[in-house]
């Protein structure tokens, strides 16, 4: 199939960007969206133009690195990652608009590449259980019911891609933060630091410039890993309890 692409080009963080138009031909429906970009980039390179910078690594939907905002949706029309989006989701002759994630806390680095290190800093603020190597008791010492383990897993499956932020009109990071808070608050190992964790992660999230959550649910609707809105409810509850009885922050 033949397609028209309008792609955001921006030389670096300090320059102004614009949408540029490209035409790609003979695209196979079996190609992934990123393979279509590979084809375009090869052409650009041979024509002496600068290939389009975009983030990607695993191309299996698990590393969370790919991040294109396609026709108004983070990761495009399907509920999956950009790398797992295939050209069979488009029609011959389509025009596709591709932009980077847009959020104050995710500044553009170049073209479609943004800086998501704010997510790392939120995890550093408390998204862990403090246990030094070698200090752990036997793994079966504390049984955890299957339901709880499965629920914790469902929250833990977040890949940190940032689509939730890109989808949200307030650029809120609540879904991402709530997934980690929920995972660790459900597990017995996570209890000791439960209050401190939620307070510190939320404080960091605000400090990084993410917006407030107004419960529109766009995040969960676009999340490629189906992280549920219920996690945000858990986060709110955890936060209230922590604040009400806080000794920290």
């Amino acid at each position: 199939m033949n397609l028209t692409l309008k792609v955001w080009r921006q030389k670096n963080a300090n320059s102004k960007g614009e949408l540029k138009t490209y035409h790609v031909k003979d695209i196979s429906p079996d190609m992934s969206f990123l393979e279509m970009f590979d084809v375009l980039n090869e052409e650009l390179l041979l024509k002496g133009e600068d290939p389009i910078a975009f983030d990607h690594d695993c191309r299996e939907g698990i590393c969370g690195m790919c991040s294109m905002y396609i026709n108004g949706h983070p990761h495009g029309p399907e509920q999956t990652t950009t790398c797992q989006l295939h050209m069979r989701s488009f029609k011959d002759g389509d025009t596709i608009v591709v932009e980077p994630w847009r959020a104050k806390a995710f500044p553009v680095v170049k073209d479609l590449v943004v800086d998501r290190s704010a997510f790392d800093r939120i995890i550093q603020a408390g998204g862990y259980i403090s246990v030094n190597t070698g200090n752990a008791p036997d793994a079966n010492e504390i049984p955890i019911s299957k339901e709880v383990a499965d629920a914790a897993f469902n929250a833990a499956t977040c890949i940190g891609c940032g689509a939730c932020v890109a989808a949200c009109k307030n650029a809120s990071a609540m879904l991402f933060v709530s997934a980690k808070v929920a995972q660790l608050s459900m597990l017995p190992q996570g209890q000791i630091e439960r209050k401190r964790r939620v307070e510190q992660m939320v404080a960091k999230m605000d400090e990084e410039g993410f917006g407030a959550c107004t419960n529109t649910g766009a995040c969960a609707a676009e999340c490629p890993k189906e992280i549920s809105l219920a996690n945000i409810a858990i986060l709110n509850r955890e936060y209230l309890i922590a604040k009400a009885t806080s000794e920290y922050v």
């Binding site: 299996e60 998204g127 890949i159």
Partner: protein, 638 residues
Amino acid sequence: MKLDAKIPEGPLAEKWNKHKFNLKLVNPANKRKYEVIVVGTGLAGASAAASLAELGYNVKAFCFQDSPRRAHSIAAQGGINAAKNYQNDGDSVYRLFYDTIKGGDYRAREANVYRLAEVSVNIIDQCVAQGVPFAREYGGLLANRSFGGAQVSRTFYARGQTGQQLLLGAYSAMSRQIAAGKVKMYPRTEMLDLVVHDGKARGIITRNLITGKIERHSAHAVLLCTGGYGNVFFLSTNAMGSNATAAWRAHKKGALFGNPCFTQIHPTCIPVTGDHQSKLTLMSESLRNDGRVWVPKQAGDTRPPYEIPEDERDYFLERKYPSFGNLVPRDVASRNAKYVCDEGRGVGASKLAVYLDFADAIKREGEATIRAKYGNLFDMYEKITGENPYKTPMRIYPAVHYTMGGLWVDYNLMTTIPGLYALGEANFSDHGANRLGASALMQGLADGYFIIPYTLGDYLANIGWNDKISTDHPAFTEAEQAVKHQISTLLSINGKKTVDQFHKELGKIMWDYCGMSRNAEGLKGAKQKIRELREEYWQNVRVGGSNEELNITLEKATRVADFLELSELMVDDALHREESCGGHFREEYQTPDGEALRNDEKFAYVAAWEYKGPNEQAVVHKEDLIFENVKLTQRSYK
């Protein structure tokens, strides 16, 4: 050069404990006087960085992705082994050791493998304490499954996302140390050279992938946790950025490279669909627990699978290997898939695929149970192929997956350059000629959490904290200039072929002649072809852009330059090893029924290669493998 593996004396089961006692310790108050560089933040790197920082060392950690959480380890699906024997099915440290040695076709060191099995149990404890949500039984205890090549259930898993959950555990431990100021993290930063002075590793040269700035970092020791080199083949299951650069440049600075030709071709991957293909996707081998592998009995049968009656199907693994059936080790499964496709019995449009069929399992256990076990894998398959595996069998074909070869290390994980260590897939150590499923995650975390914290201390205590050079030292200047020179050369060639074109050509040479089966004539031709391609690269590659920006082509160009050199060493190694073992199958050396034929008399050694200069013939050094505890037998899975 005499290779000293530094294997401790004494009975197998006591070696590690005794060794730990004999290692020198760094006084707690002095640990903060030492700096350690950790390159890579996968399971090996993140666990090492976190553990060393907890002990009090100052750690600088590097990765090329935008976040340490995205290292290639994140993609591991199936699980992690540990000799917990929670299932009471006869597992033990000794059995895991034995299975790993045998699975590796007797080309790994007994002492290392035993230690790996020993610390495996601690890994699970550590991960659970970090909040890793492993699968559990209804009673609340940890669940296990059996995995390719094992007759006990010792594999721990988190649905089909075990690597992700383990890596997020290690990443969170490291994040805690970043917050504490003990780890300084450099994402989007690529190591481009190792700095050696006075025979010791002193630091690294890096490129900031956003600004292009070339930087110097000095330390008392350097740990390479940079993963495997499967992307030599262009198409593999590895992440797009996985590369050999760090290990290869260390090799050129004097670190010997162990068993470079030992690559693992994984049997269950989604087949290639066309020239545009950029990578191959693994379907976890755990699927072989319930899926049955088959092709039509008749060559050229083009009927859809549901029209082929039971008695016209060949369940070739079950037929040839009745006791292991679909669970034979990876090399055996892959080779047999190749054989049936070579016979014209392959399926799908390309005819380079075999079926993996779940119909019986769904009938036996119900769709819901199968969905609970493999739901995400089935979804992934459907997204990529547009076919529903609950209804029609999956199509699978082998693909390059893992590299058992890597930098040669001694028992302490130190390379032949003092102060330079290699951990995880980057070293050659524990898997011999073939790695068992779910053992790479185990090895990466064993190296990082439980081995390097002990062995590194011994080295640091011996050298003392004054033994470090400043980044102004001529050794740094020289290394930096070499890096800058290479980059400006690549940028100035401005030829007619893209980096990817060269990479694809290289991959095809390697797949055709140094892939699932190899022979002397093919390998000799491949060596010549690689040399020609390399020569052309340096005259005709087009990179474009400048160094002082985010330049995705330049990143690839430096990596492919190294692949073009490493590939030749792989071919040399494959040519010199005149036997078949594990993933290395030489057509000239096989049993009458087509199984790998080892030659223990001549080849029970590790081939450790020394770099001799550009276009010079590398020289092999041999570390003899001494088996005191297991008897070498012909592997049989019949």
